[in-house]
């Protein structure tokens, strides 16, 4: 928990991501122009999730890279690697939930909101935020160790995160159409199991990454 507080102190990153969200959405809004009210729900949905994908990659890339060299050694003496990865995943999930909700608010403000089943859409966002953070936290650690910057982060994470993204898009499409909730139980169960699996794998693997 202390980790979470520590990360919170670096609000510069937080603000820059907020600005990133704002400007991306505004770019989308301007690109669709006056025709934005004719946006089909499918396009609305897909554009939203692609924005979220890039936002999360940008946000997570900072989760290791922005720390000074000495601090890793400090953590190393202070806490076990399992605690570090758990804290980072929890923090990143919270961060992503906050980002997703703000993004959704701003997004529906400028581009309208065709969602019929809002609680279910929030469930999709929740699953997406935890899923993105459990996948990307370890990958950002890998990219940080490789010292190759953000492009490697994108290369490594896209193929891993794509199945999750596709399932999220389908789930939120169901909620936009206001389908019966039982239709999407399949997706929810799969998403949750994939999330848990990836989080567990990162929990097991992180000590090896940390040691080097």
């Amino acid at each position: 928990m202390k980790e979470v507080m520590l990360e919170w102190r670096q609000r510069l990153a937080f603000n820059s991501i907020l600005l990133y969200i704002g400007s991306t959405i505004f770019v989308c809004y301007l690109s669709f122009g006056v025709r934005s009210n004719e946006l089909s729900p499918i396009t609305w949905n897909v554009v939203f999730w692609i924005i979220m994908l890039f936002v999360s990659i940008n946000a997570m890339a900072k989760s290791f890279a922005d720390e000074q060299k000495g601090r890793h050694f400090y953590y190393y003496t202070l806490a076990s690697p399992q605690a570090v990865i758990l804290a980072k995943m929890v923090y990143n999930s919270l961060l992503m939930i906050v980002f997703s909700v703000t993004a959704l608010l701003f997004y529906s403000m400028v581009l309208g909101n065709p969602v019929e089943d809002m609680t279910f859409f929030f469930l999709a966002i929740l699953l997406g935020a935890t899923g993105f953070s459990s996948t990307l936290t370890l990958i950002s650690g890998i990219a940080y160790k490789a010292a190759a910057g953000a492009s490697l982060m994108a290369i490594l994470s896209f193929p891993v995160i794509l199945p999750m993204l596709l399932m999220l898009i389908r789930l939120s499409k169901n909620s936009i159409d206001g389908l019966a909730r039982s239709v999407s139980y399949d997706e929810i169960v799969t998403l949750m199991s994939v999330n848990v699996m990836l989080a567990a794998v990162s929990y097991v693997l992180f000590p090896y990454l940390w040691r080097s």
């Binding site: 160790k145 490697l152 193929p159 199945p163 596709l166 799969t190 994939v194 080097s212």
Partner: protein, 248 residues
């Protein structure tokens, strides 16, 4: 193909045999399973084109692709699984050999994957009408290949050997569950044009007389053995090269 791969290395191998007292990694013995692979593949290639197949609408003779296309995917999954196992061994023990093995099995897996895509695309041109029809399984396997290409990009971005071995092993293990989700869970959730999905009858419905199975199962075994053989050759080449340059 493997002769082609080793041809350039023959000089190095002779060189090492001459100067190095340790010849354990150089034994060129044709063990029983390699013979088995050769025999099975001969049988599959001859039988695959010559034997009778059930005559069916649309599929016609293209049903023979079952002997070549599907085993590619088995070969890929098995190679990648072996690669992941070696990555786990590397993280547990930290010996350089398992890292090389993991990388080479992943390499072979990619070759199988590309061949699987190509054989599938040729088949799809004649049965579905186009090389690429955005079928979930096609997309999923293309993304799966991207994972392993990213794995090699990651390997390329390190200068330190140990660092590279450890971190690429981590990525390899981490991405495998995602690959499994991609190949086995996701296509099940949507309709696919593939036989056995989305209301299309599976191949099992066709070959009830089990003539095809007589070729199909050996074919899987044969191509898998071939994959293991190619990878073990490449691992040996790398080990020999390391020994020459004194890296090991």
């Amino acid at each position: 193909m493997f002769y082609f791969l080793t041809f350039g290395e023959v000089k190095i191998q002779i060189f090492v045999e001459f100067y190095s007292p340790q010849t354990d990694i150089l034994n060129m013995k044709l063990t029983w399973w390699k013979l088995l692979a050769i025999l099975i593949l001969l049988y599959v290639i001859i039988g695959g084109f010559m034997f009778d197949v059930p005559k069916l609408n649309i599929l016609n003779e293209s049903i023979r692709n079952l002997y070549f296309h599907v085993p590619m995917w088995f070969g890929m999954i098995i190679s990648l699984l072996i690669s992941v196992i070696f990555s786990v061994i590397y993280l547990a023990k930290g010996n350089a050999k398992s890292d090389i093995q993991a990388a080479e099995y992943a390499n072979t897996g990619i070759v199988f994957g590309v061949l699987g895509l190509l054989t599938g695309m040729v088949w799809a041109q004649y049965t579905w009408g186009s090389y690429w029809s955005g079928d979930p399984k096609q997309n999923a396997s293309a993304i799966g290949l991207l994972i392993y290409l990213a794995y090699f990009v990651l390997r390329g971005s390190f200068t330190d050997d140990q660092q590279r071995a450890r971190i690429s092993a981590i990525y390899n293990i981490f991405s495998f569950p995602a690959l499994i989700a991609l190949l086995f869970i996701l296509p099940r959730l949507t309709d696919s044009l593939h036989p056995g999905n989305g209301g299309n009858p599976g191949f099992n419905a066709y070959d009830l007389d089990s003539r095809m199975r007589l070729l199909f199962y050996p074919s899987i075994l044969g191509f898998t053995l071939l994959g293991v053989w190619i990878s073990s050759l490449r691992v040996r080449i790398r080990l020999v090269r390391n020994r020459i340059y004194g890296i090991e």
